[in-house]
C-alpha cells in the first residue's frame, strides 16, 4: 500500500483498495515505526478513520471529490487545524488548539484528503535539521543516526518512511527542498503567493510559502493543484489561474534551455553531490534540453541577506507570544515580568537567538546598515534571476551542498545556516523550486536535484522534474525501516 497517491486512487477506482484500509495500514505503520523516526507530534487516528470511511462511500458511489480523495497525508505542525493542537514544535504552543483551519487545511478537507496527523519541525520552523523541536528530534529513515533536514523534517521523513502517502510543509529558506533532498523524496516550494498563508504560523512573512512533499512528481503536481490559488484572506496571495499541473507533466524537456549557475558548485561541497547533479544534467541533455551557463553572482551574499531579513521579520511576528491571548503564560508581578518570563520559558535557544538578532538589526542606528542593505541585496538577487530567465527556461542546480549530516554534528549556528545556501535565493526572489531525487552518495544517502523556474511557472518546473524522474530509477529505492 506504500505507493504514490495517484496509484492508490487508481486502486480505489478499480475497487482493489479502500481509503479506510489504506488509512488503517498507515496508522498501524505509524504505531509500529514512528517511535524510531519521530516524524509525528500528533496523530489523529479517529478523525482520519472517519474521513477515510466517508471517502470509502464516495468512491463506492463512483463520485470521488478528485485526485486526493482518500489520500492519507500529513501536515507540518505550523498549519492551523481546528480542534487539533498546533504547536509549531514549541513549548510556547504546546496546548494551543486553533479555533479555525488554515486555508490549506480547509481545501484539503474539501478535496477528501485523509489527514493522519501533524508532523515535527524545528521550533517555529527555525532550523535545518529537525533536531530543535521542543518535543523530540526526527530521524532520517535512510539512516536513523542522521537528521532528516529541516525545518519540515517530520513531513519529509513521514513520506520517505512510508508513514504518510504525501505531506505538506513550509519553506522559508529551504525548509521543504532541503529535507526532501536529505530524505530522497520530492519537495516543491511554489512561487511566493501561489498558496495561501492564511492559518500558517508565521516565521518570515515575506518568504514563507506552503508546499508539498511526495513520493513522485505526479503526486507533487496533484498536491500542489489542490491547495494553490487565490485566497482573499491572504493579502499576498496571487490572483492568477491555477493550471492543471498534472496534465502538463509529460510535455518533456526537448527544446527547453536549462541554465547552469557556476555559483552553485562551490568549494567544500560533497563531491558525490556534485557528481550526481552533473550526471542528472547530462540525463536532461540526453532528453533534448539545451544547457547554458548563467551568472548569479549575488548568490554568495544571499545567506547574509537572508539572516538579516528572516530574524527581523521573525522577531516582529513572534512578538505576539506574550502570554495574554494564547500560548504559555508564566506568572509575574507585573505585565512586563509576566511577558518576559513567559517568553523565556516558552522559546528555545535558536528562537531566542533569532529574535535577538532580528531586534538588533531593526533597532535604532542599525536599520539601514542591516535591514535596508539586505533588502537592496534582495533586489540584486531578483534582478539576476530575471536576467537569467530572459535567456533560459529553468535553472538546474544542487538542492544542498551536502547529504544528510549526523545528529549533533552541527552545533555552531552559522554552520547550520550554511546548509541553506542553495535554497535561500529562491525564497529571496520568490521563485518556485523543486527538489527531485537524483542519486545516492557512496554512503547510501539521497541527493537532490533542484530545478528553479520563473514566477508562477511551476508547470514547467514540474515538467522538467517529471522528465528526469521518468528517465531514471532512483524512486524505486526505499529505506528499510522495519
Amino acid at each position: 500500500m506504500h505507493q504514490p497517491i495517484h496509484e492508490l486512487t487508481d486502486a480505489y477506482r478499480r475497487g482493489d483498495l479502500t481509503p479506510s484500509a489504506v488509512a488503517e495500514d498507515y496508522l498501524s505503520r505509524i504505531g509500529a515505526l514512528d517511535g524510531k523516526v519521530g516524524a509525528y507530534l500528533t496523530v489523529v487516528r479517529e478523525q482520519a478513520l472517519t474521513a477515510a470511511r466517508e471517502s470509502d462511500l464516495r468512491w463506492r458511489a463512483g463520485s470521488p471529490r478528485g485526485p486526493l480523495d482518500g489520500a492519507p497525508i500529513a501536515l507540518k505542525d505550523v498549519m492551523c487545524t481546528a480542534g487539533v493542537r498546533t504547536t509549531a514544535g514549541s513549548k510556547m504552543l504546546e496546548r494551543f488548539v486553533p479555533p479555525y483551519n488554515a486555508t490549506t487545511v480547509e481545501r484539503l478537507r474539501a478535496a477528501g484528503a485523509v489527514i493522519l496527523g501533524k508532523t515535527n519541525l524545528d521550533e517555529f520552523a527555525m532550523g535545518s535539521s529537525t533536531e530543535h523541536s521542543a518535543f523530540h528530534p526526527t530521524r532520517n529513515p535512510w539512516d536513523l543516526a542522521r537528521v532528516p533536514g529541516g525545518s519540515s523534517g517530520g513531513s519529509a521523513a513521514a513520506v520517505a518512511g512510508g508513514l504518510a502517502a504525501g505531506a505538506y510543509g513550509s519553506d522559508t529558506g529551504g525548509s521543504i527542498r532541503q529535507p526532501a533532498a536529505f530524505c530522497g523524496v520530492v519537495g516543491l516550494k511554489p512561487t511566493y503567493g501561489r498558496v495561501s498563508r492564511y492559518g500558517l504560523i508565521a516565521l518570515a512573512s515575506s518568504l514563507d510559502q506552503i508546499g508539498p512533499f511526495a513520493q513522485d512528481v505526479t503526486d507533487t503536481a496533484i498536491l500542489l493543484g489542490a491547495v494553490a490559488g487565490h485566497d482573499r484572506r491572504d493579502a499576498t496571495s496571487i490572483q492568477a489561474p491555477v493550471p492543471d499541473y498534472a496534465a502538463e507533466l509529460s510535455k518533456g524537456v526537448a527544446g527547453l534551455t536549462l541554465g547552469l549557475p557556476d555559483e552553485y558548485f562551490i568549494d567544500g561541497m560533497d563531491p558525490d553531490v556534485e557528481r550526481a547533479v552533473r550526471q542528472a544534467i547530462d540525463v536532461l541533455k540526453g532528453l533534448g534540453a539545451r544547457i547554458e551557463r548563467v551568472a548569479l553572482p549575488t548568490t554568495r551574499h544571499s545567506l547574509a541577506a537572508y539572516y538579516v531579513i528572516l530574524p527581523a521579520e521573525a522577531s516582529s511576528n513572534l512578538a505576539r507570544y506574550d502570554g495574554v491571548k494564547f500560548g504559555l503564560r508564566v506568572a509575574g508581578r507585573d505585565l512586563v515580568e509576566m511577558e518576559s518570563r513567559s517568553r523565556s520559558a516558552g522559546f528555545g535557544a535558536e528562537v531566542k537567538r533569532r529574535i535577538m538578532l532580528g531586534t538588533y538589526a531593526l533597532s535604532a542606528g542599525y536599520y539601514d546598515a542591516y535591514y535596508g542593505k539586505a533588502q537592496s541585496v534582495r533586489t540584486l538577487v531578483r534582478r539576476e534571476f530575471a536576467a537569467a530567465f530572459a535567456r533560459v527556461d529553468l535553472i538546474v542546480a544542487p538542492t544542498t551542498p551536502n547529504v544528510a549530516f549526523k545528529h549533533g554534528e552541527k552545533e555552531d549556528p552559522l554552520s547550520m545556516y550554511l546548509n541553506d545556501v542553495f535554497t535561500i535565493p529562491g525564497n529571496l526572489s520568490g521563485i518556485p523550486g523543486i527538489s527531485v531525487p537524483c542519486g545516492f552518495s557512496a554512503t547510501g544517502l539521497p541527493i537532490g536535484l533542484q530545478v528553479l523556474g520563473r514566477p508562477l511557472d511551476e508547470a514547467r518546473v514540474l515538467r522538467a522534474a517529471y522528465a528526469y524522474e521518468q528517465a531514471t530509477t532512483w524512486r524505486s529505492r526505499r529505506p528499510e525501516l522495519a
Binding site: R95, F96, V97, P99, Y100, Y192, G193, S206, R232, A235, T236, I238, H301, L303, A304, A305, Y307, S315, A319, D322, G323, V324, K325, F326, G327, L328, R329, A331, G332, D334, L335, E337, M338, S340, R343, S344, K352, R353, M356, L357, T359, Y360, A369, Y370, G372, K373, A374, Q375, S376, V377, R378, T379, L380, R382, P413, L414, L428, S429, G430, I431
Partner: protein, 95 residues
C-alpha cells in the same frame, strides 16, 4: 562588535529574561553571526531600491462590510487566564 550592555538592551526590548550564562552565550554567538552579516557591506547597493517582498501587489482592498468573525468563546478558549469576556493580565496601573 556588540558588548554585554547591547545584549542586555536588546533582551529588554524583546521581553526575554535571559540568565547570566544565556546573556554571555548570546553575546558570543551574535558577534559571530554579525561578523558574517557584515560581509554585506562589501556589496555595492548605491541607488538599488530595496525589495520588501517578491510579488507585485501594493494594496488589496475590499468592501467595508461586516462579516462573520470568530465567536467570543472560541477567541477566549486558548487564553491562559480568561475572566468573563476578557483576557486578564497582571496589574499594569498602580492603585
Amino acid at each position: 562588535m556588540i558588548d554585554r550592555k547591547d545584549v542586555e538592551h536588546v533582551a529588554r526590548l524583546t521581553r526575554l529574561a535571559l540568565t547570566e550564562p544565556e546573556l554571555e552565550r548570546m553575546r558570543v554567538e551574535l558577534n559571530s553571526i554579525l561578523a558574517h552579516l557584515d560581509t554585506l557591506r562589501a556589496v555595492p547597493t548605491e541607488g538599488i531600491e530595496p525589495t520588501s517582498h517578491a510579488v507585485d501587489i501594493v494594496n488589496v482592498m475590499r468592501e467595508d462590510e461586516v462579516e462573520p468573525c470568530l465567536p467570543q468563546d472560541a477567541a477566549l478558549a486558548n487564553a491562559p487566564d480568561p475572566s468573563g469576556d476578557f483576557f486578564r493580565v497582571p496589574r499594569i496601573i498602580e492603585e
